[in-house]
Structures are given as C-alpha cells and as structure tokens.
C-alpha cells in the first residue's frame, strides 16, 4: 500500500518536463504547418541550377502561382483573372513598382503564364521573375 502511494507521487513530479517538451513541440508544429499552407503544394517547379538563389523574398513582393491546369492563385487562394487584375492595380496604386514572382508549374502552358504577365504589363510592371527550383542536392 505504501509503495503504491510513493509511486503515484513520483509520477506526479515527473509529468512536468514531459508536458513541457510536448507543449514545445506542439507549438513548433503549429508554427511550421501554418507556413506550409501558404503555397500551392501541387505546383512542381522546373529545375534551374544557375539562377540566382532567393535568399529572402524582397519587400512588398508578390508571388503568383499558376498550376498546370492554368488556375491562378496567391498564397494558395484561387483567383480569377479579373480579381488578380484588381489586386495588382490596387497594389501598384499603393506602392508603385514592386517585384512580382511567378511560380508556375513546369507543365503549365505558356498561354496561362502569358495571361498573368499581361496583367503585370497592364499595371505597368515590366519586370517579372520566374521561380524555379535550385537543385543543390544533386
């Protein structure tokens, strides 16, 4: 009887670090998972080994995603061309020129990429950047 009571007491004392660690890990999780949802995971990028690496996305930059079926999205939220146009027009009104990244799937038809680029030119953005995978591993 007395042994049991002692065991219970020991258990109580040792729960704290476990809860601490688990809690820390859960918080880390939540933070990382939210970051992951901001891009469209279906987009498979083409490799470009020689392109300059993006160390940090430039200020006020916008990344437009175009998947292989021509669907356009920003931060994984799908948009129509007219909606994208109004977003871009508003942004240029606010900030002037800003960097545009186009994250297009490798099998996207050029016509779909062109429609995004045309919107950029329409709001006086003459420079666009394409995002590709820099294959550092192989």
């Amino acid at each position: 009887m007395s042994k049991r009571a002692r065991n219970d007491a020991g258990c109580d004392v040792d729960m704290t670090p476990m809860i601490d660690v688990v809690f820390q890990l859960i918080i880390f999780f939540i933070v990382t998972i939210t970051l992951d949802q901001e891009i469209n995971e279906d987009i498979e990028l083409e490799y470009a080994k020689h392109g300059p690496i993006i160390e940090k996305e430039l200020e006020r930059s916008i990344t437009i995603e175009v998947d292989d079926r021509g669907h356009i999205s920003i931060q994984n939220a799908q948009l129509s061309l007219t909606k994208l146009h109004s977003i871009m027009a508003n942004r240029t009104k606010k900030f002037g020129e800003f960097p545009v990244y186009i994250r297009a799937d490798k099998d996207t038809k050029h016509a779909d990429v062109k429609s995004v680029m045309d919107i950029c030119t329409d709001v006086n953005l003459w420079r666009v950047s394409f995002i590709a995978m820099n294959d550092d591993k192989s």
Binding site: M18, V21, E46, A48, K109, H110, K114, L125, W126, F130
Partner: protein
C-alpha cells in the same frame, strides 16, 4: 533516507513514457517536415506595347523560339544541349547582348525556364519574353 531512495526510483521509472512520446513526435517530425526548397529566380522583361517591335536589324541579338516541340534557333529545331552550347559561345562576345525569347501559346513553361537558366549561366541578363 528511505524516502529519498524511493523518490529517485520513481523518477527513473517515469522517464520511459516521456522518452516514448518525444521519440514518437520526433519521428513524426522527420517524416512530415519537408526540407525547405532552395529557390532560384529568373528575371525577364516584358515588351512595352507602346514601343516599336524589337529592332530586327541588330546583328548581335540572340533570338530563341520555344514551341511545344522544343527550342528553335535560326529557324531550326535544336536539342537543349546544342542551344545551351550556342548561348554560352555567343555570350562570350558580349554579356550585354539582348536576348529575345519567343514562346508559342502551347509551349510548356519548363522550356522557358530551361532557356532562362541557360542564359543565366552564360551571364546574359537582358532578356525579353514575347508571345507568338
């Protein structure tokens, strides 16, 4: 004295579930956590519509056409390797050489990326993308 000893034993005993849970989480992590991709950016210019069409008379201008079938230079379909070689060779004369890439509407985006990568390797930066 006896009490102290008991406490120590209990602490040792209770380490196991904590290690279990931490280990489980660690494995879950390793499996789920995707390594962050190293991304590259390839910059291009768009032709201004109010400008004249690109001056065709400039000799040292590199023109590449991309269709659904592949890469075209000087009117002939060429494989990627020979285009890459040609770009590298031409870029040795002048890195300021303007490059014009013409894409057909049905060409896949990967050909454009490959071409831009090739230009980036050669150090060419004045790249414009047209659509045909």
């Amino acid at each position: 004295m006896a009490r102290k000893k008991n406490k120590g034993e209990a602490a040792k005993l209770e380490m196991t579930p904590m290690i279990d849970v931490v280990f489980q989480l660690l494995i879950f992590f390793i499996v789920t956590l995707k390594q962050q991709d190293i991304l590259a950016h390839l910059d291009v210019f768009r032709p201004q519509p109010d400008d004249k069409p690109p001056p065709q008379e400039i000799d040292d201008m590199l023109e590449i056409m991309i269709s659904r079938d592949g890469y075209w230079m000087n009117g002939s379909l060429i494989p990627f390797r020979s285009m890459d070689r040609r770009i590298t060779k031409l870029a040795k004369y002048s890195q300021d050489m303007p490059v014009i890439i013409k894409c057909t509407l049905d060409s896949p985006h990967k050909y454009l990326i490959k071409t831009l990568d090739s230009c980036s390797k050669a150090g060419l930066s004045k790249i414009s993308v047209f659509t045909m």
